[in-house]
């Protein structure tokens, strides 16, 4: 049996994740369930997309990724399933899949919403049954008709590379308060730091321990883009910055 990963904003206190797990294990006995996270802030589609975009590549072929960050549940937003690069994905068509490379070329089906599905819990009643069916080897095409139209994608502000000036944005803030940007390593090659909220973070180093405790540091993070951290502290607090904050590479 394959792996099903789960990425939701349900939190871990309420019955919802347990019900999801029960449906998956009832319909796909022997499947391996893996939590990506359930702790996203409610309806945080950009964070869901960021996490999915990083984590899915670490899983083996045939893994099914079930994403239920779904503030529009029960409305006319569409429910989808698709295959991409030997992985399968199931969730709402609301932008949560925006970060997947080649998404525009995926073969997508639209999942029907049965009358019996609770209008506030498609995770349990629509998406989990679809993911379980895929885990049991059912063909994608049997789950619903081909998706018509184009998928919802949100746009992250692109990096702007002018002469002597490279600007980007913070795309994610992690629990340590590290600011993850969309700048690449080559964007900051030779720069002395990163300007954010009117202050300058830096120097550019390899890791936290390369600066003294309390010092800020700029480095190419484990996700492949530039990050700003404060050793043993929070860069988000130090620089009063968050998702969407502008960042600019500073050259001497």
């Amino acid at each position: 049996m394959p792996i099903i990963t789960m990425l939701t904003d349900f939190g871990t206190t309420d019955p919802y994740v347990g019900e999801l797990r029960g449906v998956l294990l009832s319909r796909a006995p022997g499947v391996t369930l893996v939590d990506l996270t359930h702790d996203l802030s409610p309806g945080n589609i950009p964070a869901a997309a960021y996490i999915l975009g990083r984590a899915w590549t670490q899983f083996p072929d045939d893994t099914i990724h079930l994403v239920v960050v779904d503030p529009g549940v029960g409305t006319r937003r569409r429910a989808i399933a698709f295959e991409l690069s030997t992985h399968m994905f199931v969730g709402p068509d609301n932008g949560v899949f925006s970060t997947l490379p080649g998404l525009e070329r995926a073969t997508v089906v639209e999942l029907p919403i049965l009358e019996s599905a609770a209008p506030t819990f498609h995770g349990r009643d629509v998406f989990a049954p679809a993911a379980a069916a895929l885990a049991c080897g059912k063909a994608l095409s049997t789950l619903g008709p081909p998706f018509e139209g184009s998928l919802v994608r949100f746009q992250t502000a692109a990096v702007r590379r002018d002469e002597m000036k490279v600007t980007g944005v913070v795309v994610y803030v992690d629990r340590f308060g590290n600011l993850l940007t969309n700048l690449t390593g080559s964007d900051v090659a030779g720069c002395t730091g990163i300007e954010v909220s009117g202050q300058t973070a830096g120097p550019v180093r390899n890791t936290f321990g390369d600066v003294p405790p309390g010092g800020s540091v700029v480095y190419v993070g484990s996700g492949g883009t530039v990050e700003i951290a404060v050793r043993e502290g929070s860069a988000a607090r130090r620089f009063d910055a968050g998702v969407g904050s502008r960042v600019r590479a500073v050259f001497a």
Copy 2:
């Protein structure tokens, strides 16, 4: 090997859940462990009962449900195990099983407390070994003598249905701040809203997206009873309500 679900108030930071998992996997190799939640507020028996009452039905036959919300651990409250509708349940006799339909007809055994059990951690030393024994196929009757007397059950205030007036209570508040009541869909059929804490929530619709952001909505929730939500907000905060708050269906 069957599934063992876990429902505790241990939190996920301390060693306790890890120790529980270790005991279960040592004594029932190959068992599938599933977290319902570990994040209940300490000793919150009504929340445990609510979550168990919803989630257990989603699991396949022969699942074993291990509940350790146990503020009376080490005192004279009794330890029990029983079978109900092809599922097994293990935990303290303190009301956590109150929501299971047909509980009064279950065949219950009383688990002996060995001298060696830590008086503050029956989860690890009494309940987990019992759950693991059941997972390994041991008969319920071998775990202890028949339970004498009647099980502890807590009572939720019943819905009162007078002429022109239907009143109930909030039985659970989820992480989104949604107020889950004990009113049924037919209780609110034709009503214009729900009165709670002197304010009126509504209209009655299908889902969150049927009202504008910030608006309140009344709907039949995924647990089968009436809920009150605020779209992209918290009904608990908006209406200053919580578990036990009275709610009343309002007819024009």
Copy 3:
């Protein structure tokens, strides 16, 4: 396939634990993953050591314990793997293994850090691959050269036993606010209570329920050492105490 336990300070919101799980399941298909915790405060090495020191003994032979509480990631701190009492351990050489009995006699290898490893995420790129290799049956000696020198260990203040006076410290505080000390049951035999922060906690009893709600109680905890609790309350708050607070057995 064996079990791999995970003990990190990554939190459960960010992509990091998901990536770790993906690497482990990709490289060791069929392995059973178990969370000890991911919710340690960032860089909390003493708490990691305390939790590991309790939980590992509950797991079956051949379990692999992956510990990634690693504030010095990417610096010259060393990466290690070793076998002890039929279990395997993988993590940074920074004190997280301090509580393991017999650690000084373990055969330890030093894990090489590949050029391709992200300097801020050895959990994913160094430790998880090593744990997965062990899970697949690779010999410890193939993972790296023998470790030269002595492992980093932090010291907990020892219990001082003078005539008529026994003093120790709080070594861990759990989510309930219970104060877990390094005193043993025989240290408190016959004492009337424990002095902490200028107040006296007690009496000495078996469990929480042996005192009235709001009362404090001293007991031998499930980890084998003396604990201080407040029934239905928090001893940490009541006594304004935390890890490192001095405690003293009081005899009448």
